[in-house]
């Protein structure tokens, strides 16, 4: 055993020495990486570390941080009812819009794949436009206006489905579903583009081989040829849609107000903003951010391990 350990340490030392030598030889590489790495560390890595550290303190910017242990987390889960509502809302939105948006991105990318070239490029613009149209979603507040002149209300009343106008964006019962619809509308983003490009890149010979081998319909073709080829893009798309699904805040804030009635449209991010930038309770906000961070990373890892089994 001790011999094994010695050998192990020897090998590690040797590897380390080689690593140092190679690092010395590739100085210019580090020079190229340095500017990006510096900024990236400062604004993407360091903040995560800081937010984990500050989540154990009471900090309000003016006073020096005071260590409070797990107090922030305890009060988040046991005392802060609004936080529980926001977690519930975020999960509802993430569970419904995340997978639906993801499947939708893939489905539409796959459907437009076989169209002629110019139709395809028009279709890509049509489907991708909502996600880059800035805050164009605000137009939905016109459709869902609470009085009888709102289009949705007018339509439903004319057809006799409802007989009094519904306050779509004020009534807690309808807020979340309306927001989810709007988020779904915007969900064909970078993942969708990645799918479109990936589908174009699949080797046509594989499909021909598939016909010869007796693939009967488009669904078999999808499962046995297309999906296995698309695995890297599927991963990328999953990362994009999970990140999007958990970070909903602008849509709910602009459509339902901030704060919304009964906090029915509050998400974790709006809660974070409330404590961070309105009340300046940075320690508390950092603990919310840490929870959001952990949720996103864990969810991503789980989905990735699930996706690696696709198409086998």
């Amino acid at each position: 055993m001790s011999q094994f350990l010695k050998d192990y340490i020897k090998v590690k030392k040797h590897n380390f020495r080689i690593g140092v030598k190679r690092a010395r030889l590739s100085k210019s590489c580090y020079l190229f990486l340095a500017p990006y790495a510096l900024i990236f560390t400062m604004f993407y890595i360091l903040p995560v570390v800081i937010s984990i550290v500050f989540s154990f303190t009471y900090y309000n910017i003016l006073e020096t941080p005071r260590f409070v242990g797990l107090q922030n987390y305890i009060s988040l889960f046991l005392e802060d009812d609004i936080f529980l509502i926001s977690i519930k809302n975020t999960f509802m939105i993430a569970i419904i819009t995340g997978p639906l948006g993801y499947l939708g991105s893939f489905l539409f990318a796959w459907l437009i794949n076989e169209l002629p070239r110019w139709v395809r490029s028009v279709a890509v613009v049509i489907f991708y436009a909502p996600s880059i149209a800035g805050n164009c979603y605000v137009i939905f507040s016109v459709f869902f206006r609470g009085d009888a002149y709102g289009y949705v209300n007018a339509f439903l009343m004319d057809t006799g489905i409802i007989d009094t106008p519904q306050l779509w964006l004020i009534d807690p019962r309808y807020m979340l579903p309306v927001c989810m619809g709007v988020i779904l509308w915007m969900s064909l983003g970078a993942g969708f583009l990645s799918f479109v490009a990936g589908l174009q890149g699949i080797d046509k010979a594989q499909y021909e081989a598939g016909y010869v081998d007796g693939i009967k319909n488009r669904w078999q073709e999808l499962w046995f040829i297309t999906l296995p080829n698309m695995k890297p893009m599927l991963m990328f798309g999953a990362v994009m849609s999970i990140t999007q699904a958990f970070s909903v805040c602008d849509v709910t804030r602009n459509l339902c107000g901030y704060p919304s009635t009964d906090y029915a449209a509050r998400t974790i991010v709006t809660h974070l903003f409330d404590y961070g930038f309105s009340r300046f309770e940075m320690g508390y906000a950092c603990s919310i951010a840490t929870i959001l961070f952990l949720m996103m990373i864990l969810c991503n890892k789980a989905i990735q391990s699930l996706l690696s089994r696709v198409g086998t």
Partner: protein, 376 residues
């Protein structure tokens, strides 16, 4: 005839071997060769007038001329056939041969579904554009119309009037946003491509780990880092300056990721060749690699512009004269019912820039996204 041909051949040999010839002999060979030319022309039935004059001019090199004539005749035959093929390819049947494993019902159903969804998806955008063009009396018409009957640009001019009456002039807001978007995107492009270049093309200790960290960073949003970023920026006295938005945008992880994936497709031999020719790392990067990854530039630009153009930046910028266009637009939208038309104009102004960039660079962006896969 065959005698004459033989004679011709013999004479031609003479021409080739003996450069100096008497004029009479030359004249004889020319007349003979012209006859053979006629023969060839009859066989191939192609125009030969220019060739004939060519022979007349080059009296000395007759054999060569005839050979040229023959081969050119063959060539015209071949090229004609080729032309036909090309024409056939050009007149491709409009409806492609169907793939063997597709059902017509399935196709119809799926495409109908696709068209329906496409209409639904595009409707809000069309509606936003149309309501920006509607005059005030049409905005509240009931039942509502999608398309404006008397389209005007009044809403846009009203928008400018409202903005010019504001405390900070409208051009300042535009300048702020353009400045932030421009500098942020340019810096992001340079820094991220430099890092992507070494990560994609060199194997050095720590490179792979760094890239893994960047991919993890794509998995959480800017909201997670918002609060600590605020703390860091306030330590560096960056709050309430443009840099509070611009500098973090330099290190936007998605740009590095896409650029690195795209650069991996670049042949390493290209870089090696440049190095053998005596280029240093920087020359290789700026002269060889960057011109070859233009599609990836455009992709980085669209994602970066999209993030910066719509950034209201209300959490890190407080001074009114530093505020961005989206923030000013939000103020106008908050103006209520009287400003509905202007608010719609605002939406159009804000969405037109990213969509226009996307439309003009779509094919390049898709080329880049083809290498966007995430390997585990």
């Amino acid at each position: 005839m065959s005698d004459m041909n033989n004679n011709n051949m013999a004479e031609n040999k003479n021409v080739n071997t003996e450069v100096q010839e008497t004029e009479e002999e030359v004249l004889q060979t020319v007349t003979e060769s012209e006859e053979t030319v006629d023969e060839v022309a009859e066989e191939t039935a192609s125009e030969e007038a220019p060739k004939k004059s060519l022979i007349d001019e080059e009296e000395g090199d007759v054999l060569k001329a005839t050979v040229v004539k023959e081969t050119s005749a063959k060539k015209t035959k071949k090229s004609k056939k080729k032309k036909d093929d090309e024409e056939e390819a050009y007149h491709k049947p409009l409806i492609k041969r169907r793939k063997p494993n597709r059902s017509i019902a399935g196709d119809l159903f799926l495409y109908l579904f696709l068209i329906l969804v496409a209409v639904l998806m595009f409707f809000p955008i069309i509606y936003a554009v149309e309501s920006a063009l509607k005059p005030l009396d049409e905005l509240y018409k009931f039942p509502p119309r999608i398309f404006a009957q008397n389209p005007t640009l009044d809403n846009f001019s009203d928008l400018f009037v409202t903005m010019s009456k504001s405390w900070v002039s409208f051009s300042r807001y535009i300048f702020n946003t353009v400045f932030i978007t421009g500098v942020g995107t340019a810096g992001h492009l340079i820094f991220a491509s430099m890092a992507a270049f070494v990560l994609a093309k060199y194997d050095f200790p720590g490179g792979k780990t760094f890239f893994k960290i960047v991919t993890v960073a794509m998995m959480f949003t800017g909201y997670v880092t918002g609060i600590p970023n605020y703390i860091i920026m306030s330590k560096f006295h960056m709050i309430d300056t443009y840099w509070a938005i611009i500098i973090p945008a330099f290190a936007f992880p998605m740009g590095l990721f896409l650029m690195k994936q795209f650069m991996e497709g670049l042949p390493t031999s290209l870089i090696e060749a440049a190095k053998i020719d005596g280029a240093n790392e920087w020359t290789v990067f700026s002269r060889i690699v960057m011109p070859n990854v233009k599609p990836a530039w455009l992709t980085m630009i669209i994602f970066s512009v999209q993030a910066l153009w719509n950034n209201p930046a209300s959490t890190v910028i407080y001074s009114e004269e530093m505020k961005t266009l989206p923030f000013a637009m939000q103020q106008i939208q908050a103006g209520g019912i009287a400003r509905t038309g202007e608010a719609a104009a605002v939406l159009v102004v804000l969405m037109i820039v990213p969509i226009a960039i996307f439309i003009f660079s779509e094919s390049q962006i898709l080329e880049t996204m083809a290498s966007s896969g995430l390997k585990d």
